[in-house]
């Protein structure tokens, strides 16, 4: 196998792994927001895993980009990884990759600075995740022949279904959330339900009766 082909294979492989990692990162992000837990692990494991996998994903994307650039079979300028639609080869699909990567860079940079920046602004930029993943997915399907058939296509569709389920779960919660003006009434309702069912205080604690999450 020539050096060029090795780079090409490396780029395809790291791209696929990156897609899997990004899928996990997005699901974990929603899990953090919903205060969900991974079985057997402490709460900080969810936040740490979300953060660490996102950095790992970027590492894989870096290799994915560099190997694609180094491969001589097609000419892909390095800058096209961040400037969308600036490559000659597969201008559109690679452009989507650049858009997704730009959003990821914004999210990661702001998250590294999150202690020093405005909370609302941080959150607004972090919401780009919901745009970044679909764009990355489109880039993956459009620019990789591998993903367009066989078990890799099944895997890609599997990722899409997982993300869709997670997003629906997140939206369902947002729809159910009690608006601030109704929270006191909701606490009264929970309290009445608890006392009339005569739960033990330990059971009540476990139901985590609160309405501002």
């Amino acid at each position: 196998m020539s050096g060029s082909t090795a780079f090409w294979y490396a780029s395809r492989a790291t791209g696929i792994v990156a897609l899997l990692l990004l899928t996990a990162v997005l699901v974990l992000g929603i899990l953090v927001n919903r205060q969900g837990r991974l079985p057997g692990l402490p709460r900080f494991a969810v936040t740490d895993l979300h953060r660490n996998l996102s950095l790992l994903a970027v590492a894989f994307i870096a290799v994915h980009v560099f190997t694609a650039v180094l491969d001589t079979y097609v000419h892909i300028p390095l800058i096209s990884a961040v400037i969308p639609f600036s490559s000659g080869y597969e201008r559109f699909w690679l452009g989507l990759g650049a858009i997704s990567l730009d959003m990821m860079i914004a999210m990661i940079v702001t998250s590294l600075l999150r202690g020093r920046m405005n909370r609302i602004l941080w959150r607004a930029i972090h919401l780009l995740a919901y745009a970044s993943w679909p764009v990355a997915f489109a880039h993956s399907i459009g620019s990789s022949k591998d993903l367009q058939h066989g078990w890799m296509l099944d895997m890609a569709i599997g990722c899409a279904l997982i993300v869709a389920a997670a997003v629906i779960y997140r939206l369902a919660h947002a729809a159910r959330q009690v608006p601030r003006a109704g929270r006191v009434a909701a606490v009264y309702a929970q309290h009445t339900a608890t006392t009339s069912r005569a739960m033990t205080s330990r059971q009540a604690r476990r139901t985590r009766e609160t309405v501002n999450r």
């Binding site: 953090v32 205060q35 709460r43 900080f44 740490d48 999150r114 202690g115 009540a204 009766e209 999450r213």
Partner: protein
């Protein structure tokens, strides 16, 4: 001059990550909200305190400068 942990109760939604990372200074009430030790953070726990502040998903935990002297335990 030492730092004191303070939680912004408006931003806090009771994730409880802080209490896991710093049980010496933070515990959780029956509704999941943090009860934070109001005294200055002992020097030995300073790094852990900063980690807890960084880990809060809601950015609700803060380390604030106070004029009290640092304590060792």
């Amino acid at each position: 001059m030492a730092d004191t942990l303070k939680v912004n109760p408006i931003d806090c939604t009771g994730h409880g990550v802080c209490a896991e990372l710093l049980p010496e200074l933070i515990s959780v009430d029956e509704w999941g909200y943090p009860i934070v030790d109001p005294r200055p953070v002992p020097l030995a726990l300073d790094r852990e305190a900063r980690r807890a502040v960084a880990a809060c998903p809601a950015l609700a935990l803060k380390l604030m400068r106070t004029d009290e002297p640092a304590r060792s335990r």
